[in-house]
């Protein structure tokens, strides 16, 4: 078998595997486009007879998704901003030095990364009630997400800082820059891509966060889309086309971002998560 034929065959198998793996996503979009009766047909149709494009604006209006998505964006942006401001500095220090204290710091950071949110929410809820932070529910969620996700951000960004040659910073110091100046104008610009990728990953996570938002936010008008989707799915629902339309509207921005930046996200993730 020639090289091109072999490649074509492998590509065909790979496409088939990807199609099988990504079928649930396809089914989400297709179900959203089906009519109420077509959705329950046996055998199921794999292509809608009469695509109901109007379901997207309909569900958006019906469920007030504008507000849900706005709250998700507020929560995700707030978390990313807080994490990036605090986490970048920590990652830099942990990358620049090598001694016992850095090892201890890294160990603590890695340990904090693994605490399950659904186990931490009980004490966080009680403490936020006691301190009055719960009166500002979206800020409470932002603080909780920041504490949960910052270790992951630090681990990823630290890997980026490790790849910035220290000689560049030292040269800047010799040239008369202060530490702040060298950090701000030499190190940060060089690490910009890695920080950006980590921030995007954190944003995606926070955009889909559920446990903290569900437990800390009581007011419907402050809840994010994940809580909205959960409330939409009652125990005995049969509105699956509408639920799938809700889900599609919710994830499409995330999926689009991911596909566009796929290469960078994957390489950023692989450089940090196992190191």
């Amino acid at each position: 078998m020639s090289e091109t034929n072999r490649n074509r065959l492998l590509l065909a198998v790979a496409l088939l595997l990807a199609a099988i793996y990504l079928f649930p996503l396809y089914w989400m979009y297709i179900t959203a486009l089906k009519t109420g009766s077509e959705m329950f047909r046996t055998p199921p149709s794999f292509w809608p007879d009469d695509p109901q494009w109007s379901i997207f604006p309909f569900v958006f209006q019906l469920k007030g998704m504008g507000l849900f998505l706005w709250n998700s964006t507020v929560i995700a942006s707030g978390s990313v901003a807080l994490i990036a401001v605090l986490g970048t500095g920590a990652a830099y220090v942990l990358a620049r030095y090598r001694n016992v204290w850095v090892d201890v710091g890294l160990f603590l950071v890695l340990m904090l990364q693994v605490l399950p949110a659904s186990l931490m929410i009980t004490p966080i809820f009680v403490l936020f009630t006691l301190t009055g932070i719960l009166d500002y529910p979206r800020m409470a969620v932002i603080l909780a997400i920041a504490a949960k996700s910052m270790p992951f951000f630090i681990v990823l960004v630290r890997a980026t800082f490790m790849s910035v040659p220290m000689e560049l910073e030292e040269a800047a110091l010799v040239d008369g820059n202060s530490r702040v100046g060298a950090f701000w104008s030499i190190v940060l610009p060089l690490a910009r891509n890695g920080i950006l990728v980590a921030a995007i990953l954190i944003f995606m996570q926070a955009f889909g966060e559920f446990v903290y938002s569900k437990s800390l936010i009581q007011e419907i008008e402050l809840q994010p889309s994940s809580v909205g989707l959960n409330a939409f799915m009652g125990p005995n629902t049969n509105e699956w086309n509408r639920i799938m339309a809700f889900a599609s509207i919710y994830v499409t921005p995330i999926l689009a971002t991911f596909v566009l930046l796929q290469r960078r996200i994957v390489s950023g993730l692989t450089s940090g998560a196992l190191k």
Binding site: L108, L115, S118, V126, T129, V180, F207, L255
Partner: protein, 300 residues
Amino acid sequence: MRRLYSSLVDGRGFDLCLIGVPLVFLLLLSGVPLAYNVVMSFQAVDMFSLGSFVRPWVGFDNYRQLIAQPEFWPIMGHTATFLIASIAGQFLIGFALALFFWVNFPGASWLRGLFLVSWVMPGLVVGAVWNWLLSGDFGVFNFVLHQLHIISGNVFWRSDPAFALWSVVIANIWLGTSFNMIMLSVGLSSIPADLYEAAELDGAGALFRFWTITLPMMRSTIGALISLGLIFTLQQFDLFAAITAGGPNNASNVAQYWAWDLSFKQYDFAKGAAISVIMIAVVMVASVYYVRSTRHEVRG
């Protein structure tokens, strides 16, 4: 004052400030809750004492009552099943896919990256989609299994106590496989190719090469990945909320969902704290292993 300022701009103070502020933040928002959780698990907490620091001390009563509850051991068993089945499924399918995509062909790395969408999607959405796929009467999953002659009647994945836990396991395997695959791909690509060339010259077969080169070279990646899988699987909450809510009758309930359910559905914060303490201890042990197996890499 000037000295402090110049230290902040140009000396040790700069580093201490950069690392100190995040550490204090993490200590206040993760460390303090962690410690307070332990305190709370020894107290009697109800709706009235929720707002005050001073509560009656009850010793190990919460733990004793928790273990005495009839659902305690079944839920622990479900947690173990969920962990083992999810990790095994994610790892084996992920490894198989990683091995396939290791063979280089045009488009391989792009397609491989595409798989990761399952991992970046919100857990609630993954849960909603699988809830619909696994629906008993109209679910397409049953339809496919039926066409393949694996089942004859419809399986009621979410409402049959024998299958409810497995419906969440299936969704979780789908969600985590891609992450395993990407990480294993990285490990595979770091094995030097001349090892294989030498073994091939010596007449070693493909299976033999896999056992004697691939697996030993991947040992630290696999160790880190399995403990990472344990950590991620114990964090999985959204799928339970979206697919079974722990039901029917606790048939698919696991510790991390139960803890939340006790606190926020039954308002029994003390028992919720007690189960959290137990599970956090388990996670801590797993993460010590994870940190140790990545330690030489951490040092860079």
